[in-house]
């Protein structure tokens, strides 16, 4: 029973990791853009959720569609200004995008500091658990994970079963080939970036329900997303989902048997091992 509870804890955390990572995977996989501002978008949405619930007393999950749409549109607006101009540099675009989004992350960090200050804040929502068969299921993580799963499933369906989604997948595999097939890759990249930022915002709404956030935690979230993508395979949406769940389980096991430091350092140890053993996982699928 104890082992089952550890697994449950891990799966619940992994569920949230799925959304944190998939949103970056979309941008990185399709565009080859290293979006270092990813965590900043998550934090902005989380802090906005805190402000919204404090001001209105309403359910924080009501913010999710609003955050998705608003930040998604902001992302779509930023892409042609900051990111699209870099695409003409070919392979150098990855490094250039890293630098541009690094700068963007600090602009967003400062915006968050000015709007909400530097305090850690948390939304007091669903602070208990469901008991089922002797196991405890954290309500906050379960609900967040369920939303994350629904969003991820919708993303998977859109990518694989809709024309527009297939165009995006095609562009991620070969922009030249996509152009030859008559796909407007500039439009596809704009949609991918906007959608990725919107999904990051959705992740932010769910993250602040389960853990306190502050502007300065954005870098940690970006790093976590990159680790999961590295483990799951760049552009491999199914692989990233599995990697996120497995990472959650691995952290849960290490926390129980080895303590808090093991839980903290595990993602980075795994990243090093994967990068050394299977560096091809960081090339587009």
């Amino acid at each position: 029973m104890l082992l089952l509870q550890i697994l449950v804890n891990g799966v619940l955390v992994g569920g949230l990791y799925v959304l944190i990572a998939q949103s970056l995977n979309l941008i990185f996989g399709v565009m080859g853009v290293v979006n270092l501002a990813h965590g900043s978008f998550i934090v902005l949405a989380g802090l906005f959720t805190y402000w919204f619930t404090s001001a209105t007393g309403l359910n924080p999950l009501l913010v999710l569609p609003l955050a998705f749409v608003v930040l998604g549109l902001i992302g779509a607006g930023l892409q042609p200004l900051l990111v699209e101009p870099l695409m003409k540099f070919g392979r150098k675009a990855e490094l250039l995008s890293l630098m541009v989004t690094f700068g963007l992350s600090y602009v967003l960090l400062e915006l968050a500091l000015q709007l909400w200050g530097s305090d850690f804040v948390s939304v007091p929502y669903l602070q208990s658990s469901w008991s089922l068969g002797g196991l405890e299921f954290s309500k906050a993580f379960a609900v967040s994970g369920a939303f994350a799963a629904a969003v991820s499933a919708a993303l998977y369906f859109w990518l694989n079963y809709t024309d527009s989604g297939k165009c995006l997948l095609a562009a991620s595999q070969s922009s030249t080939g996509a152009i030859c097939c008559g796909i407007d890759v500039r439009r596809v990249r704009l949609i991918a970036f906007g959608l990725g930022v919107g999904l990051a915002a959705a992740a932010g709404v769910l993250v602040i329900i389960v853990m306190p956030l502050a502007p300065q935690t954005s870098d940690d979230l970006t790093l976590l997303a990159f680790v999961i993508i590295a483990l799951g395979g760049l552009g491999n949406y199914g692989g990233v989902a599995i990697a996120a769940i497995l990472l959650g389980i691995a952290q849960s096991l290490s926390a129980f048997f080895l303590g808090g430091n093991a839980e903290y350092v595990l993602p980075y140890v795994l990243l090093i091992l994967v990068m050394v053993a299977r560096p091809e996982r960081f090339r587009p699928a």
Binding site: P124, M211, P212, F256, G260
Partner: protein, 396 residues
């Protein structure tokens, strides 16, 4: 030979001229007395900003109060503060600037052991007698850093009254946790040593780093060990995460104690009923019968429109001690100020400022607070308590 009449006239004119000049010069001379500039940094941004904000407010109030009373050495006080962004590296650069470029008369330390560890060697290099109101880590105050004088209770005293009290009430087992940060680790190791000295069984112990998205499996491990007491040396985000996780895993120890986090208003807001009966520590409280405490509380509320908490008190007390040294030595000489502070005890709002030769605090202590129905109450030591320690922790 000039006539007497002429001589008297010259004398009179000269006297009038001198007195007029004197009248003109006197206010200029008084205006010319420069203010005493006290320099320092505070974490206006970054992860330490919450408590940094309280500390600087305490310092600002103390400066204002000192100026109302005429300043020090007949001179007004001025504060020159930079934002260290919660970074030791940034603080080092800024303190060097304060000393060598701004040439401030006196220094006051930053918030947190994390930042103070960085500047301590610099303070020693320039031999500036600096009271450190925000650095509870005792490892800072050693030979080689002796110009840094601890202005708060050492973190090895945080929660030090809980285990003896719990043991006296029948507790035998304890789980100990500590965040991997300067002061929290010092607190954690001290509590481990204390538990062993008291003969209490440590059934679980771990340190951890932040951020941790979930404390669920740590809480599960604690639940599996079933301790009477859970003592965690924390800041705010981990205090919230641990309390929530314990509740979600279905475990409530008889005593749940955390440092720093529970003292802050956002803790109660984040946890609601889960915070009830959580125990924490403080070096200052509103019911202390220390000199100037009532005036400090009233003045803080009037100036900042909020209640003070203990970080504000450490800032205020540091300026009290520094002022006593300046007045006591009648000088701004750093060596004299340091020698005076080492040789004397200064009554402050948070107790008695007293340090050893390395600057380690000997006078300041830590009391226990408990959240009871949404309000922090001082519960230990019993002689100063405003409420009884309520057991067990219910989380509701």
């Amino acid at each position: 030979m000039p006539s007497r009449k002429h001589s008297w006239g010259v004398l009179l004119a000269g006297a009038l001229g001198l007195s007029t000049a004197g009248i003109a010069v006197a206010p200029i001379a008084a205006q010319a007395a420069p203010p005493i500039v006290i320099g320092g940094t505070i974490s206006e941004t970054g992860p330490l900003a919450t408590d940094g904000a309280y500390q600087i407010k305490g310092i600002e109030l103390a400066i204002a109060d000192a100026n109302k009373a005429g300043g020090w050495l007949g001179r007004k006080l001025e504060l020159k503060i930079y934002d260290d962004k919660s970074s030791a590296g940034t603080a080092v650069r800024l303190y060097e600037r304060l000393i060598t470029d701004d040439r401030v008369n006196l220094l006051i330390g930053p918030y947190s052991s994390l930042v103070t560890v960085g500047i301590a060697p610099l303070i020693n290099k320039y031999k500036m007698a600096t009271i450190e109101p925000g650095a509870s880590d005792p490892s800072i105050y050693v030979a080689g850093n002796e110009w840094n004088l601890q202005g708060t209770a050492s973190s090895i005293r945080y929660l030090d009254q809980l285990l003896p009290a719990a043991k006296a009430q029948g507790a035998t087992t304890v789980a100990l946790l500590g965040l991997e940060s300067a002061f929290t680790l010092a607190c954690y190791h001290a509590r481990v040593a204390q538990a062993k000295e008291l003969g209490m069984k440590i059934v679980y112990q771990t340190t951890y780093s932040l951020p941790l998205p979930s404390f669920a499996s740590i809480a599960l491990a604690i639940k599996n060990a079933h301790p009477d007491v859970v003592e965690a040396c924390t800041y705010y985000p981990d205090a919230v995460g641990l309390t929530r996780a314990l509740h979600e895993q279905g475990f409530a120890p008889k005593y749940l104690a955390e440092t720093v986090g529970p003292v802050e208003a956002p803790y109660l807001k984040a946890l609601g009923p889960l915070a009830n009966r959580v125990i924490t520590n403080t070096g200052w409280w509103t019911n202390f019968k220390t000199p100037g405490n009532d005036a400090f509380i009233a003045g803080y509320k009037a100036m900042f429109h909020q209640d003070p908490e203990y970080h504000a008190a450490t800032g205020y007390a540091a300026i009290q001690a520094l002022g006593a040294a300046v007045e006591g030595t009648h000088s701004l000489d750093q060596a004299k100020i340091r020698a005076w502070l080492l040789a004397n005890e200064v009554p402050t709002i948070q107790g008695t400022f007293k340090v050893n030769a390395n600057g380690l605090a000997l006078g300041y202590a830590q009391d226990l607070l408990q959240i009871q129905d949404g309000v922090l109450k001082l519960v230990y030591p019993e002689a100063d308590a405003e409420a009884k320690l309520l057991v067990p922790y219910t989380g509701s």
